[in-house]
Symmetry: C2
Subunit: 340 residues, 2 copies
């Protein structure tokens, strides 16, 4: 048995209807809802087939049908109409270019959540591959230095360095020159242990203090990315009864608060990137088990200069996929342009 045109239409109707109402949908409804002009009986026969094929299922014997994960998948892959939708507010919002990156991302998350009525997340861009533009070491007082590193994309990192013995002006100057000439133009990931050893050698091993400082600078530069993630609209999950029983809500909320789960999502998305850049995980397909009752839509944005990040929407399986994908596309377009 194969999926003919009519079965597809019926499946589509089931999905659409279920997305709207959240209730299992019966044969009579479909019979009226579609333009097929078939009686409910015929629809029933077709639906029995669709169930056998695994595209829809019955929550209990005398209920209507709801789409299975497989059914959603088919819908998402082949049956979503392309809609041109205005997301005016987003443009207005993003185009006024919040000066602070974190503000911008937070704002973006809030926007995504408000616009879709699902929970949203936005990861800060990862800067792997970013190149060092500027390094400076300055003395704050007798025993403390501050190291400032500026990378492409105007990413600034700094660190206080405590030294056991004061560093004199001349040494400081030498160090600055050394650091700048050696590190400039290198990407953060290129600065590895060998590099550091090399630097130390150049600085002269007899100066223990220099070694100490270089270690600190290396730590500053190589500092483990802690991948900030901004979330918004967690409360939206309460709008969908199928997610808001205590057990499930608790899990999802927790995932949103302790961000680890979301980290996996981000990594998954970044490594997994497809042509369109938008990925849809339905139920069990999701890379994180906490989300097995949800659908997750993620996408990658690209600020240029190797700075890539992820935005995502988490909602019920009966998510309005078209709207979400639309919104995400629109936001990505805006984000991509922010720093052009």
């Amino acid at each position: 048995m194969e999926l003919d045109e009519r079965k597809l239409k019926i499946l589509q109707a089931v999905v659409r209807n279920y997305l709207e109402t959240g209730e299992p949908v019966g044969s009579r409804t479909i019979s009226k809802y579609t333009d097929l002009n078939l009686s409910s009986a015929t629809i029933r026969n077709e639906m029995a087939d669709l169930e056998e094929l695994g595209y829809i299922l019955q929550p209990h014997t005398s209920a209507g049908r709801i789409p299975s994960d497989k059914g959603y998948r088919l819908y998402v892959d082949h049956m979503m109409a392309e809609k041109e939708k205005e997301v005016q507010e987003i443009k207005e919002m993003l185009l006024k270019k919040e000066e602070k990156m974190d503000q911008l991302l937070k704002q973006t998350a809030r926007l995504l959540a408000n616009d879709t009525n699902y929970a949203a997340m936005v990861s800060a861009p990862m800067v792997r591959g970013n190149k060092v533009k500027f390094v400076q070491l300055s003395r704050v007082d007798e025993t403390q230095l501050v190291a400032v590193v500026v990378a492409e994309g105007n990413l600034i990192r700094n660190n206080m360095i405590s030294v056991s013995r004061p560093v004199d002006d001349e040494t400081l100057l030498k160090l600055n020159i050394l650091l700048n000439t050696s590190l400039n133009g290198l990407s953060l990931s290129e600065i590895n242990l060998g590099m550091i050893a090399n630097l130390k050698a150049q600085a002269g091993a007899h100066e223990a203090i220099v070694s100490e400082v270089i270690d600190a600078v290396a730590a500053t530069i190589g500092e483990e990315e802690d991948l900030e993630i901004y979330t918004s609209g967690a409360k939206n999950i309460f709008k969908y009864p199928e997610l808001s029983d205590n057990q499930k809500a608790s899990e999802i909320i927790n995932a949103f608060e302790e961000k680890n789960t979301l980290h996996s999502l981000v990594h998954q998305t970044l490594t997994n990137e497809e042509s369109t850049g938008i990925q849809v995980y339905i139920g069990d397909e999701s890379p994180v088990s906490t989300m097995k009752d949800c659908s997750v839509v993620t996408a990658t944005y690209d600020l240029g200069e190797g700075m890539k990040g992820t935005i995502g929407i988490i909602g019920p399986k009966r998510m309005d996929y078209e709207k979400v994908v639309d919104t995400m596309k629109s936001i990505m377009k805006q984000l991509d342009q922010v720093y052009k």
Copy 2:
């Protein structure tokens, strides 16, 4: 009618019992629970009095009694036993002094939440009154400068400054000297508009570029504190049925995600500080209406050098106040010592 010794004991028993079970507590229970050796009938009479006095109330005619806000208040103020409790893990945790402040605070929040089974928040310390130790302006490339400001407590702020025309070395040097001599030792809040105007005058008004740079530095220094708040254990509210219906849970979760509400809490706490430093808000007493069905316990920690922050616990009214206050005291002690 006054509260005699016996009424107090009964009230205490009601509160204790309700804290444990979350169920309205009846006269018979009390009669057995306490060492008063009174029959349930007597207890009933006393409870009727207590109800009239407003310390307890009945959810419905034939149910037991639960403490009113007023009852909780009396309990918290006068009847909590001082317990010496070990919070060993906390010591171990905090004493190993996470190098990064934000890691430490996040960890603290997580600890509070885990230890108490309520939702926890920790605000980053506010630095009002903190003094500038060091200011430096460096050139990154032709059109971009980076301003670095270090304040007491080794709080570092920095900002990129784009200039329309390149700044030459000499000007940069002059600016650095000017900035350091004028700003050093001032508290961040002392650097106001007048101060800035003064600086500009000294820099010489004919140099438009200088003015531009000073504005940017001022912005860096005076940068609006955005008061980072770390939260943990939001999921814990699902453990208490009286908070986990959709409506309430949604509100609380939202307050935890969009941090504004918590900001009010922090400000309230910092201005309102009492002798003990620990404040308990029960139900409607809470400064934020979102928390009207909860109890909120807050406290102030002090890292010295004018750096103060807030920790807080949000849970149901039937919160184990003794444990919470204990835990908070312990954590505060640890926090206070971290930077001594």
